[in-house]
């Protein structure tokens, strides 16, 4: 996983509440068996006309936001299906951070696992970010979001901060607890009847 330290970019404003993972990556694209290549299908049904031409009214097709690595989203972003393909698609498209007032739990977790930083801010700050067009600086080490209008500190679990900053493999981190896991297993009493 690529380490995350500091990014500087304009933000793509997706002005819609309760965006579910079915919209982020529709089901017809869940059949790939690798983690890459999903970016072209990101927000597919909102992004393209039926004949495959890009829809002019959708923000991802707006040339002003080309190359942006920050997504601004509204409340309850990533709700619904647990499909991690949603995080893969966002990452593959180029997004490294998402700022919203709230994220659905499973999606939130899936972001960290893929090196995407989900940042929760209050409604007022989010509104200001939506209204301003200037570039945003996100510094993970300092836990800050800054632009012309906004300067704030955000919360992140220390564990995730470390994983992101160092681009760690979290399974390797967990396996350091192998003894504790084995010890737990010794007292298990409800194993399935063997087949």
């Amino acid at each position: 996983m690529e380490p995350f330290r500091r990014i500087y970019s304009i933000a793509t404003p997706l002005d819609k509440v309760n965006v579910d993972t079915d919209q982020i990556i529709p089901k017809q694209f869940l059949k790939l068996i690798q983690k890459t290549g999903f970016g072209q299908y990101l927000f597919y049904d909102w992004r393209y006309e039926k004949d495959g031409t890009p829809r002019k009214d959708f923000v991802l097709n707006d040339s002003r936001y080309k190359g942006s690595v920050i997504l601004l989203a509204r409340n309850n972003f990533g709700c619904g299906s647990s499909r991690e393909h949603a995080a893969w698609a966002l990452l593959d498209f180029g997004f490294r951070a998402i700022i919203s007032t709230s994220f659905a739990d499973i999606f939130y977790n899936n972001c960290f696992k893929n090196g995407i930083l989900p940042i929760t801010v209050d409604e007022q700050a989010l509104q200001k970010l939506f209204e301003s067009k200037s570039e945003i600086e996100i510094d993970l080490e300092k836990q800050t979001v800054k632009n012309d209008n906004v300067s704030l500190q955000f919360h992140i679990e220390p564990y995730w901060k470390k994983i992101l900053l160092e681009g760690l493999d979290d399974i390797a981190v967990t396996l350091k607890h192998n003894d504790a896991i084995s010890k737990y297993e010794e007292k298990q009493v409800s194993n399935p009847r063997s087949s």
């Binding site: 647990s82 220390p158 967990t174 409800s190």
Partner: protein
């Protein structure tokens, strides 16, 4: 110290407590399916890791298997590739697989309980958000992403933030328990708390109206906890729970002694405190129908399609979303729900595809014909449900009425297999999500109970199922 059931299960499974609310939890049962697992197995291979506990891991294929004739090969090449990948991965890593020809095949959340893989007081994960279903048995069960599937395969553990506890009290007595179902209870809850109401929490459903529900009805309610934003939702186990599981295929050898222990311990202490609480009184609820593009956009069957401001109650963002939903659904505010004409009816999904769902729907359908303009299908949740239903002659009732009777799988709930809506088609569906394009690009989904779906199939439009004789 007094504790809620959620906290008791959490504490009993904590392997490492980091002290900041984050713990490494042991996973008792891991269910795997074809769509969210291939990348996880690839990750294991790339890092030369094994599956730590093959004996606690079970796999099936459900999301994109065809529900038509099983003797034919899968036509969709990408679906076939995923199914093949799961076969190969299970073989390579030594995991028990209920494949497409197995009598145990079915939707992962239907077969878990059916086979006794699901147990009270256990932790259960699966790469599927509706894993909350297993909470009906007093398990702490939650959906996970593919990276966590890989993590659980490798370590049998998962890192989690301790959820806040959210008590959902369901009190009172339904006036008509055939017409007003568990689906109507959970939709009534979601429309009140909203789709983000449970974010960061786990639900415990309590109260007399929960106790009187059958196990299958409890599964319907726990299943849609995720639609209320909660990653898990559970019901404390009771005699119904223990009876349901007794004698099933994979229950432990020491089941009876476990039951004694569960009776003692698997309940919320009398004066334990929840972080949040909500109460639904079911005395006055009626059958529910969703009108919009998320499950909170739901109204009474007796109601009219709301105006965006009426729905949003002052929330600007929600008002915009409601206007957009009406446009997508092609509905006009003020329209009576019972005036909404339909093209398709789908009875199935991990929410409502169990024997009781099919039995109740069959009572509505028996001796009648579906409307000529409707295409309707029943997709049993598992091969076992299908067989039981056929033994009762339900397949004949449905087929005689004009329904298609299918093989088991997720089917049109998410339309990864060929069962999809065409653009503009309107469907009464017993599934759990009415998101844009969920059942097919441009398709319009209305969430309802199995009896409401069955009644709509007969009439060609929504109808208040209470007006029909169901006894």
């Amino acid at each position: 110290m007094t504790k809620t059931l959620i906290e008791k299960i959490w504490d009993a499974h904590t392997v490492v407590d980091e002290g900041n609310g984050r713990s490494l939890l042991y996973v008792d049962r891991h269910m795997v399916h074809e769509v969210t697992s291939p990348q996880a197995f690839d990750g294991l291979r790339a890092n030369k890791r094994k599956v730590r506990r093959t004996d606690l891991t079970f796999a099936t294929m459900d999301h994109n298997v065809p529900t038509s004739n099983r003797s034919l090969p899968i036509v969709d090449q990408t679906s076939a590739m995923q199914v093949k990948a799961l076969e190969r991965n299970c073989k390579e890593f030594g995991i028990e697989l209920f494949d497409i020809n197995s009598p145990n095949q079915g939707i992962v959340h239907v077969i878990g309980p059916e086979l006794g893989i699901t147990l009270p007081g256990s932790t259960i994960v699966c790469g599927d958000s509706h894993t909350s279903t297993h909470g009906a048995f007093g398990a702490l069960a939650f959906g996970i992403g593919t990276s966590d599937v890989e993590h659980v395969l490798a370590t049998q553990c998962i890192w989690m933030e301790k959820p806040k506890t959210f008590e959902i009290r369901v009190e009172g007595k339904r006036r008509n328990s055939h017409a007003i179902t568990a689906k109507d209870i959970i939709l009534s809850i979601i429309k009140r708390i909203g789709t983000a109401g449970g974010t960061g929490t786990a639900f415990e459903y309590r109260g007399e109206a929960v106790s009187e529900l059958s196990m299958e009805q409890r599964m319907t309610i726990c299943n849609m906890s995720i639609e209320g934003g909660a990653r898990a939702g559970l019901v404390a186990p009771d005699e119904k729970t223990f009876d349901y599981l007794r004698g099933r295929r994979y229950i432990p050898e020491n089941y009876d002694s476990l039951v004694e222990d569960w009776k003692e311990n698997l309940k919320t202490d009398g004066n334990a405190r929840f972080d949040k609480s909500f109460t639904l009184h079911v005395d006055d609820i009626v059958p529910q129908v969703s009108w919009g593009t998320n499950p909170a956009m739901t109204i009474d069957v007796t109601g009219r399609i709301p105006f965006p401001d009426e729905y949003a109650k002052g929330n600007v963002e929600e008002e915009k979303a409601a206007a957009k939903a009406l446009q997508y659904m092609d509905l006009k505010p003020g329209t009576l729900v019972t005036e909404i004409e339909l093209n398709r009816v789908f009875i199935g999904s991990c929410t409502n595809s169990r024997l009781e769902d099919l039995t109740e729907a069959a009572k509505v359908v028996k001796g009648k014909k579906i409307s000529q303009k409707i295409r309707a299908m029943v997709v049993p949740g598992s091969q076992r449900v299908k067989k039981q239903a056929e033994d009762l002659g339900l397949d004949k009732i449905f087929k005689d009425a004009g329904f298609e009777w299918r093989e088991s799988g997720c089917s049109m709930c998410l339309g990864m297999n060929p069962d999809i809506l065409s653009a503009g088609e309107r469907c009464a569906s017993t599934s759990n999500r009415n998101f844009e394009g969920r059942q097919g690009a441009g398709g319009r989904t209305h969430l309802v109970s199995p009896v409401m779906a069955a009644a709509a199939a007969i009439k060609g439009h929504f109808v208040d199922v209470r007006e029909l004789d169901l006894n």
